[in-house]
């Protein structure tokens, strides 16, 4: 039975700004094509490089202006939210799951498996994250799903490192000893007793990691190795705007503001969750 009432009261206590901002972006992400005032990929040369509505020459139907191909920037940002959030959330989900699996296996079983897995984690963590992601993107080709595989393939190691320390602590608990005495198999202990106890940390890590992943996706798209055009990704919008810095600042300013709002909200929410879910952080000041 899922405690809906408890979940609901917890949501009400969450910090207001990040929750509301994320909800808006989430709605934009899911229903983007319905909300957006224009088709995000509709080009129109008579409306190219229109400034935001309050400036001279701006139109109310293009509130944040339009780009060099006459595409509405607001619509592209709304639809682009879906791209960013999809990549971010799926990456955090898969890397978190893989990281938790490695941490539980290595941390609980110990011995050679642990040594081997931790060496692998060390290796992945000691390679420059973005350099590796860029190289992989260039080799296996840029697409939305490849991007998720690449980012998750690099990010899992970070989860594994943090969660393993947690598993080592849990392993010493009395309830694990009791489970062993009661005759539980190793698999059962890992699935039923160890894993549920790291879920809280996993959720906190994933929320904090989402911001990092979204910036990484934007960086890859900015370099031209992320979401292929003409899909409206925030990173590639900023990159396209670079060529028009002198005459049309709005091309690169707005997508950056969107990234800032999303990442800031995830970070604030992650900090709040950490304090909320992890009793040992309630006393520490960060």
């Amino acid at each position: 039975m899922i405690p809906f009432r408890k979940i609901f009261s917890n949501i009400l206590q969450a910090p207001k700004f990040p929750t509301i901002a994320l909800l808006i972006f989430l709605i934009c992400g899911v229903f983007g094509h319905l909300i957006a005032p224009h088709d995000p990929n509709q080009t129109s040369f008579q409306h190219s490089l229109l400034p935001p509505f309050w400036m001279k020459g701006g139109l109310a139907s293009y509130p944040l202006g339009s780009d060099h191909l006459g595409r509405d920037i607001l619509s592209r940002i709304i639809v682009g939210a879906g791209v960013s959030l999809e990549v971010g959330i799926l990456t955090a989900f898969f890397s978190g799951l893989l990281g938790a699996l490695v941490a539980t296996l290595g941390g609980y079983l110990g011995g050679k498996i642990d040594t081997l897995l931790m060496r692998l984690v060390d290796m992945v963590l000691s390679m420059p994250f973005l350099v590796l992601a860029v190289t992989l993107a260039a080799i296996i080709g840029a697409s939305k799903y490849n991007l998720i595989i690449i980012l998750a393939g690099v990010a899992w190691a970070w989860y594994a490192r943090v969660l393993r320390a947690e598993v080592l602590k849990i392993k010493e608990g009395d309830f694990i000893r009791l489970a062993i005495v009661a005759g539980c198999s190793k698999t059962r202990i890992m699935v039923r007793h160890v894993f549920p106890n790291i879920v809280n940390s996993l959720v906190v890590l994933a929320t904090l990691n989402l911001g990092v992943v979204i910036i990484a996706e934007a960086s890859l798209s900015f370099l031209g190795l992320g979401i292929p055009p003409p899909a409206p990704a925030w990173g590639s919008m900023i990159s396209e705007g670079r060529n028009y810095i002198g005459q049309a600042w709005w091309l690169s300013v707005w997508p950056g503001v969107a990234i800032l709002l999303v990442v800031l909200s995830f970070n604030l929410l992650g900090d709040w969750l950490r304090v909320r879910l992890d009793p040992k952080f309630r006393q520490t000041r960060l």
Partner: protein
């Protein structure tokens, strides 16, 4: 202590071997490395020539051995694009990236640490809140966007600073700020929390009771004890800047290693890409090793774990 150091060196060595294998296998990921490296217009004879020139016709372990033994001697193969040894391109670009990173690091240190210390002293006051917002922004803003905003403001609107390239000291200001901001935010957070831990200690109260001046208490008694994690973190951040240089050098057209990697990736110049990834990772592993050994030297508890 000796045993611990030897163990850590052994681990670092294994890590580097593993990285070299991953880097080596990267180009074999799609199946045929020749197809990956050859220009699109290459004929079948060209492909065959590349295959034999680079030894791709040999078994994979022979290729790896040839690659790794060459790499130890500093021979990373020839750049396909420029047709000169890849390592020459590295030495050509490395000083530029180093210069930029050093300026960024100095910037991050002289702004980040004092902000952190002062925030800890004034915890909960206006300055502390301002510092917190600054640190939060540093983590939430993508570097390339900050760079473009600076160009819009200082180059196109105010016309104070040049937009790109490398020349006078003016060229350093924007890239160094953009590259250093994230590090500065991290150092602010870390020195703030390290100082907060120390400021509660009994010996700080003691120093105050003895009538030591507040400035001396903060700098000599407190910060001296809080500085260990801050300094080790700075060392790691300095090496981690490699990630940032790729983006920042693209934004500001800085002729450094990051730009070399991006250009080589687009030109499918994989010997150069492999070299850059391998060298920068080794650099990172090596710094990690030194930091760990230093930590063990400072804190005996780590040695005997």
């Amino acid at each position: 202590m000796k045993r611990y150091i030897l163990k850590r060196i052994g681990q670092a060595f294994i890590t580097i071997i593993g990285i070299s294998m991953i880097v080596f296998l990267l180009t074999h990921l799609t199946g045929d490395p020749v197809a990956l490296m050859a220009p699109q217009s290459a004929t079948l004879e060209d492909l065959e020539k590349i295959r034999i020139d680079y030894g791709f016709d040999k078994p994979i372990y022979v290729q790896y051995w040839k690659y790794i033994s060459g790499a130890i001697r500093g021979d990373f193969g020839k750049s396909i694009q420029a047709n000169i040894p890849a390592i020459e391109m590295f030495w050509d670009r490395f000083p530029n990236t180093l210069k930029l990173s050093i300026v960024s690091m100095i910037f991050a240190l002289i702004f980040g640490i004092p902000t952190g210390i002062y925030s800890a002293v004034r915890v909960g006051r206006n300055f502390d809140n301002f510092g917190k917002i600054f640190a939060l922004m540093g983590q939430a803003l993508p570097g390339f966007w900050v760079g473009i905003m600076l160009i819009i403001l200082f180059s196109t609107l105010l016309k104070w600073l040049p937009t790109s390239g490398m020349g006078s000291w003016k060229n350093y200001i924007m890239p160094a700020f953009t590259l250093g901001w994230y590090t500065m935010a991290a150092l602010t957070r870390l020195s703030r929390s390290a100082m907060l831990d120390v400021l509660d200690a009994e010996y700080i109260k003691m120093a105050r009771i003895k009538g030591v001046s507040e400035l001396q208490v903060i700098l000599k008694h407190a910060f001296k004890n809080a500085s260990a994690p801050v300094l080790t973190m700075s060392a790691l951040q300095f090496v981690a800047m490699m990630n940032g240089t790729m983006i920042i050098e693209t934004v500001f057209n800085w002729p450094g290693l990051g730009r070399l990697i991006v250009n080589s990736i687009f030109a499918r110049d994989y010997p150069v890409v492999q070299m850059c990834v391998l060298i920068s990772s080794s650099f990172f592993v090596f710094t990690n090793l030194i930091v760990d050994i230093l930590y063990a030297y400072l804190d005996p508890r780590i040695r005997y774990q």
